[in-house]
């Protein structure tokens, strides 16, 4: 037993902040399972979705997780992450649905952006919405956190999406107490964010306390990289340096797990979750600011993608 839900001082009926966050997330996950016909949990293999999957396991234990897990595979993922995904889903005994961006491109539903090393970040939205329609999912769990990004800080826990999958930030349902309103019509769905109140540091503390396994790229390792727009990008099948970009090997880790084309590494010697807790606590850059090209398009890049139906 790692940590009683009572936390550090159960004698005073006081929960630790992590236990409070855990209880809140489990409550949200159970509400969704009870009130929706066809929920699905989005799993990228990233640390947030790993925590979310563990919380789903805790919510229904000793029963099984009563909904499938879905991965939107851009085809540009880190191979270490795909390998980890299959192992993780298998260990939870869950059903995995893979929605493929490559398949969307092959069928003409999506088109790669022009230029070398195109990012498929934005294309995922089409694939995601098609998969939601195809499987008639009515609730979609996402691992987004409000501390990640300023548009996300205005997001509801239960976030309504119309039949086009759109988010209307100016017209959100008020959300009071722990009374979530998931009512919707056929064809509409609700995005659910059980980790809304967690911060990056909370996630790492939880990973540490619960001994959660993560893809190896989160921890410090040697890698061939080059510098582009102030970020360290990995040399790989989908990313190649331009003529003036010098390739060098260094010790890095990843703070977020996205596409190889838009996710940067940070130089780090942190080899364990405990090391990372210390590193995150001292960091002066947000995880997305430090490592995500997809948010650098404009001040409202995240809001614009979210309006279209992005995660």
């Amino acid at each position: 037993m790692e940590r009683a839900p009572g936390g550090t001082a159960a004698g005073q009926y006081q929960q630790s902040h992590l236990s409070t966050l855990e209880s809140q997330s489990i409550h949200i996950i159970r509400e969704v399972a009870a009130e929706f016909e066809r929920p699905v949990l989005l799993f990228s293999g990233g640390k947030d979705s790993v925590v979310m999957l563990r919380l789903a396991q805790k919510a229904f234990w000793p029963g099984r997780i009563p909904f499938p897990i879905m991965h939107v595979d851009t085809g540009h993922n880190f191979p270490e992450v795909i390998e980890f995904r299959d192992r993780a889903v298998d260990s939870y005994g869950a059903n995995l649905v893979v929605a493929s961006v490559q398949a969307s491109i092959d069928s003409g539903r999506a088109v790669d952006e022009p230029g070398p090393n195109p990012s498929r970040n934005r294309l995922q939205t089409r694939t995601l919405l098609d998969a939601i329609n195809e499987h008639r999912f009515d609730a979609v769990f996402g691992g987004a956190r409000r501390d990640e990004e300023k548009a996300r800080s205005k997001e509801r826990v239960f976030s309504f999406r119309d039949e086009f999958g759109q988010w209307d930030p100016k017209n959100q349902r008020p959300e009071l107490w722990s009374l979530f309103n998931g009512r919707h019509r056929a064809g509409e769905h609700i995005r659910v964010f059980p980790l809304s109140d967690w911060t990056e540091l909370d996630i790492w503390q939880y990973v540490t306390e619960d001994h959660l396994e993560l893809p190896s790229i989160y921890y410090s390792h040697r890698r061939e990289v080059f510098r582009r727009d102030g970020m360290l990008l990995s040399v790989g099948a989908h990313v190649s340096p331009r003529g003036d970009e010098e390739v060098f090997e260094t010790t890095v880790r990843y703070r977020t797990v996205g596409d190889m084309t838009c996710t940067g590494a940070v130089e780090s010697l942190a080899t364990t979750a405990e090391d990372i807790v210390i590193e995150v606590a001292a960091s002066r850059l947000t995880e997305r600011g430090a490592t995500r090209a997809d948010d650098r398009v404009s001040e409202a890049a995240m809001e614009d993608r979210k309006r279209e139906g992005y995660f």
Binding site: M1, E22, R64, P174, L176, L285
Partner: protein, 416 residues
């Protein structure tokens, strides 16, 4: 480390954004890339100073119009506590947003400009915080630097506000003179106000005692989900999952289940991380019972000698949040704990003026951002407590049956 939820509200000019910006910056919750981005946008707009409001105002429309549209959540931590700030705009949709932000708050922070003193907005914020029964109310008198750090200015505002608050249901009221811009009494005690002997704002937030704010007296477990693994390893397992909404449940306790009225005992309290001897709010647990009783979602587990009110006729204060007004005869969907039922509005007794506390008994309807006393009849009995006794079992939301939008929030009256 405990979690403290803070609700705050106000307009740009009273220095709220500066104060939040300072709290976040001094606790290292603002990162360099966020600050750079805000500085860049401020420069582009030609602002004379870096507008820290841009840290919280993230939506395109907010940036374009220079307003805050919606509740924004901010996070920071000190070695003592983790804090969540629900930051609400003071002007647009004020009641809707204030009610939302305050519904889960442990503490409401109201800001007053020392030069202007108590204004209508101050009274409205304080009233809504008391309506939502936020246990701690903190009035920060800001911009003390602009009144020469004068103790008499602070004293007069304090006196006037205390007189107003005595008409409200406020259990804990505190006052701190600050200058968010200069940092006086925000993190450190100010050398400019030696006459003030209390804690700095951050110290107050770290120390305010919240353990006794929850209801630990009346055991309530609304059932969310029935756990039946139907696996060979656990063939007969049957557990009732939910979040404890009040009181303390212990293994071996005699319990009563509503609506069946059957009594049995707690056989065990399970979590993934092991069995617990006792469960209390706000824990999410799974309870096993000694006897095989028929229980489903929406049922409530309590104690035989401590039962909630059971009834179909509800008397509540309702905050209305939709453009179309609510009138007697309207049908609505109502969610209380883990149940949806249908409700019909029987009567609207009065509308409360949130600025003057005046009761208008001739209103007959509630419009957008109105608060009033309403009678409702629901299709099935609810198991509830008065809101003043329990914020979880005493609250409900209302949804429009055709659009599904949340249109109202209710706080139940009942025998205390």
């Amino acid at each position: 480390m405990e979690l403290l939820r803070i609700a705050t509200a106000g307009s740009v000019d009273d220095g709220k954004s500066t104060l939040i910006g300072r709290l976040l910056y001094d606790s290292k919750a603002i990162f360099e890339d966020q600050l750079e981005s805000v500085e860049r946008v401020s420069r582009q707009r030609g602002d004379e100073y870096t507008d820290l409001a841009l840290l919280t105002d993230g939506l395109r429309a907010e940036r374009e119009q220079g307003i805050t549209i919606d509740v924004a959540y901010r996070y920071f931590a000190t070695p003592a506590r983790k804090f969540i700030i629900a930051d609400t705009p003071g002007h647009i949709q004020y009641t809707r947003n204030m009610v939302t932000g305050n519904s889960n708050a442990d503490l409401t922070l109201v800001l007053v400009d020392a030069r202007k003193g108590i204004v209508e907005q101050t009274r409205r914020h304080a009233f809504l915080a008391s309506l939502l029964r936020v246990p701690h109310l903190l009035l920060c008198v800001n911009k003390m630097d602009l009144v020469g750090y004068d103790p008499d200015v602070f004293g007069a505002i304090r006196e006037e506000f205390a007189a107003f608050a005595s008409r409200l249901d406020v259990s804990d009221l505190s006052f701190i003179p600050i200058s968010a811009l200069q940092g006086d009494n925000v993190v450190q005690r100010s050398v400019n106000m030696p006459w003030y002997e209390g804690a700095s704002l951050l110290h107050h937030l770290e120390q305010v005692y919240i353990s006794s704010d929850r209801n630990l007296i009346d055991p309530r477990l609304p059932v969310q989900w029935v756990v039946r693994p139907q696996a060979t390893s656990t063939p007969d397992y049957r557990g009732y999952a939910g979040r404890v909404a009040g009181g303390v449940f212990r293994s071996g306790d005699e319990v009563l289940v509503l609506p069946s009225g059957l009594t049995t005992r707690v056989a065990g309290i399970d979590t993934f991380d092991g069995q617990l001897a006792e469960a209390y709010p706000p824990m999410s647990v799974t309870v096993r019972l000694v006897d095989d009783v028929d229980i489903s979602r929406g049922d409530l587990i309590c104690r035989p000698m401590n039962q909630p009110t059971v009834g179909q006729d509800l008397d509540a204060l309702v905050a209305w949040m939709a453009d179309r007004p609510v009138v007697p005869g309207d049908f609505l969907a109502l969610k209380h704990t883990t149940r949806w039922v249908r409700a019909v509005v029987r009567d609207i007794h009065y509308r409360l003026d949130v600025n003057t506390l005046h009761r208008d008994e001739s209103a007959g309807s509630l419009g957008l951002n109105d608060v009033g006393r309403v009678s409702l009849r629901v299709t099935q009995p609810l198991y509830y407590d008065s809101y003043r006794r329990n914020r979880q079992t005493g609250s409900f939301i209302l949804a429009d049956e055709s659009t599904n939008v949340t249109v109202g929030a209710g706080m139940l009256h009942g025998p205390d």
